[in-house]
């Protein structure tokens, strides 16, 4: 590359691209695609659960395929939510301290939500 296009900082650090430029973009699209498919199953499951009593609802979610798809759904949901909320905060919160605090809070809460949901699904599926 012609040196005249490089900034002085780039010449000084001598570092190239971080190579992770499209990671966020790709993860957001991949989880979106997964959720577009899983949402159809999820809506079907919720509508089916409408009038089931506790035991029947529990048994329905405990079925292996439903439990596996529910695990995939909650992991994709909280991952996708974290990626999306991150962009919203990046775009609208311009104060460094708030930005940092919110990004950390979003990551922590999304991970907690995913962990709690996974724990609940495993407890339902494996019996208690």
């Amino acid at each position: 590359m012609n040196e005249q296009y490089r900034t002085p900082l780039k010449v000084a650090t001598g570092l190239g691209s971080a190579k992770h430029g499209v990671q966020h973009f790709m993860a957001q699209r991949l989880t979106a695609l997964a959720l577009a498919l899983l949402s159809v199953w999820f809506i079907w499951l919720v509508l089916k659960m409408l009038h089931l009593d506790y035991a029947a609802a529990h048994a329905l979610v405990a079925q292996p395929w439903n439990a596996i798809l529910m695990l995939a759904f909650v992991i994709a949901v909280f991952w996708h939510a974290q990626l999306g909320l991150q962009v919203v905060v990046e775009d609208y919160v311009h104060t460094h301290g708030w930005q940092l605090a919110l990004q950390i809070a979003i990551k922590f809460l999304c991970f907690l939500g995913a962990a709690a949901s996974v724990f609940a699904i495993l407890r339902i599926a494996l019996g208690h």
Binding site: L47, L50, A57, V74, A81, G113
Partner: protein, 131 residues
């Protein structure tokens, strides 16, 4: 320096509202709303794991007026975010990039989301309502 002193692009006050602007901002709003909505999903799963009493409380909340309003809002938010998200995914692989297609597909996502929500709730009430 606090960056809040930066001038912002004057988009909402100057440009005439167009459907693409509406779908863009609504996609974000529904996305944030759905993120909060997943709290109910998480609570419902935990209740189902912990026992009949906890599950009955979640059911009772869903059948209450605040619960119904939230469920109705989230069902529309999910419908819109899903349909508009499919539009975005198609655009990401290079489809639908003329201005006419942008406008048409944005309207399809918007009107389709109302249709899908109506269909969902028609099914729910045909089954005798929530709980």
């Amino acid at each position: 320096m606090s960056a809040s002193a930066r001038p912002l692009s004057p988009f909402t006050t100057i440009y005439r509202w167009q459907i693409q602007m509406v779908t863009s901002i609504v996609h974000r709003i529904t996305g944030v709303a759905l993120a909060f909505g997943t709290i109910l999903l998480c609570v419902a799963l935990l209740a189902l794991a912990s026992g009949p009493d906890a599950f009955a409380s979640v059911r009772a909340f869903c059948a209450s007026w605040p619960g119904l309003v939230l469920l109705f809002g989230w069902s529309w938010a999910l419908s819109f975010h899903l349909l508009n998200g499919i539009r975005h995914l198609l655009q990401d692989v290079g489809m639908g990039f003329t201005i006419a297609q942008f406008v048409r597909n944005s309207w399809i996502a918007m009107i389709g989301s109302f249709a899908l929500t109506a269909l969902l709730w028609a099914f729910v009430f045909a089954q005798g309502g929530v709980v």
